[in-house]
Symmetry: C2
Subunit: 236 residues, 2 copies
DNA sequence: CTATGTCAACTAACATGTTAGTCAACCAGA
DNA sequence: TCTGGTTGACTAACATGTTAGTTGACATAG
């Protein structure tokens, strides 16, 4: 049993976040987990986190409670809490839920989009293009996220983005391990364009089909990953 | 300003629930809010709840935190927390999210259902029939919930039911005000049967169509309700 | 050497004390 | 009567002390 325990040093100071202490601690810890600076299986020690961030156990407890119901940490009552392992079951479920929400969103947006919204989407697409040409993959990753967030925003349902993010947190974490390649970025761009074309044409069915195809590219790549890095996945 | 404040007496004792204290307090409070024994706009007083349930402020605080991110209470930092008003925007959004999940579920289940699962569904349908004949509306309401929960269960995704419940809590609360009528129960039964038929035939498109029609019946009835009981809705 | 029972150390969960922010009632002035 | 500022009571948020349950190491028996 590789007794990986704790790595608290690389945890962003809470001064850079805003909100209540609990909120800031939550964001800091979530970032560390999603960016894999807290490795799956390692034990989260309240005391060390309190010390590192300079707060008491109350806000840390609340943060851990939130991370727990998001499935990012596993709490063993009266004992310990550790960073959850990757689980193909969880990832598959997250993908399913995410797809359900994305499909509903894109259909609605295709139906009742405005010209102003189309202009914003096109602006984002041009940005994506530029970033791919420049080979700026982190930047492209971010504009990709923005593209999807934008579509959800245009539904007019404010919680949608939050829910979608929550259900697919495990997927987000897994994506961190997928190295972006020029080829994949170009493909992604084309897939996005197909979605945009269908939204422009106000064709909900075509938009859903394009979105389904786009999202369908992800799972196979994650499955390949599970073979390469089995130590990050559940052993049971 | 109708200074409705608090009604703590009708709050189920936590002895009847299981889990941690925080979990039990959460369930007890959620039940009171969903069943409208805590009215929208009334102030939630930690002290009184602690006294009534015989616990300290810690588990109550955690319970309130959860209710807050579900949108069932509004917390004003350093001041007060009150039961949230009904909001047509929230209800519309909850309906949208719920539909997205139900449609994805029913399509998947129609695709890969087993014969054993069909048998379970049919058993539930016969139960619904009996309860309608007997005029047992509370019983029918419950078997209705079970019908939808069963479909989600058959997807094989365990969190799905939880997420669906969470996103549509506001809708659930609003439904409490809709008096069940014999006519509506019979209609519901027919709509369910149409869904079941499509699942039996392994026809995902038809299943989605039937589900969409079924879920579409709810919003108009809630909108009518908003006219009748405006005091429960946001005034802003 | 292996299996089992005991025990000590550590933890989350819970209780309670403290702080600081918010809101509404009240009062003074117009 | 109405407006604006002041104040005090009340609250959530945070800090800290306490309790009880779990885990894993170690010793002991087979």
């Amino acid at each position: 049993m590789t007794n990986t325990d704790i790595e608290v040093t690389n945890l962003r100071e809470i001064g850079t976040f805003e909100g209540s202490l609990a909120q800031r601690v939550y964001l800091s810890m979530q970032e560390a987990i999603l960016s894999l600076q807290f490795l799956p299986g390692s034990v989260v020690r309240k005391g060390l986190i309190c010390e590192k961030l300079g707060v008491s156990r109350s806000p840390v407890s609340e943060a851990i409670a939130r991370l727990s119901n998001e499935g990012l940490v596993d709490v063993v009552p009266q004992s310990a809490t550790r960073v959850s392992y990757f689980s193909m079951d969880d990832i598959r479920e997250g993908t399913f839920l995410r797809e359900a929400l994305e499909l509903a969103s894109v259909a609605k947006v295709a139906w009742d989009r405005t010209e102003d919204q189309m202009a914003q989407i096109n602006r984002n697409m041009r940005l994506q293009s530029l970033l791919v040409e420049d080979g700026d993959f982190p930047g492209f990753y971010q504009s990709d996220e923005e593209f999807h967030a934008m579509l959800m925003h245009f539904t007019g349902y404010p919680r949608l983005k939050t829910v979608a993010r929550m259900v697919s947190l495990q997927v987000t974490r897994a994506r961190m391990l997928l190295l972006p390649t020029p080829g994949r970025a170009t493909e992604t761009l084309d897939e996005h364009q197909a979605i945009v074309d269908a939204v422009r044409d106000q064709d909900p069915d075509a938009a859903q089909k394009a979105m389904r195809h786009h999202l369908g590219q992800l799972m196979p790549r994650i499955e390949a990953l599970a073979e390469k890095r089995p130590e990050l996945f559940q052993s049971r």
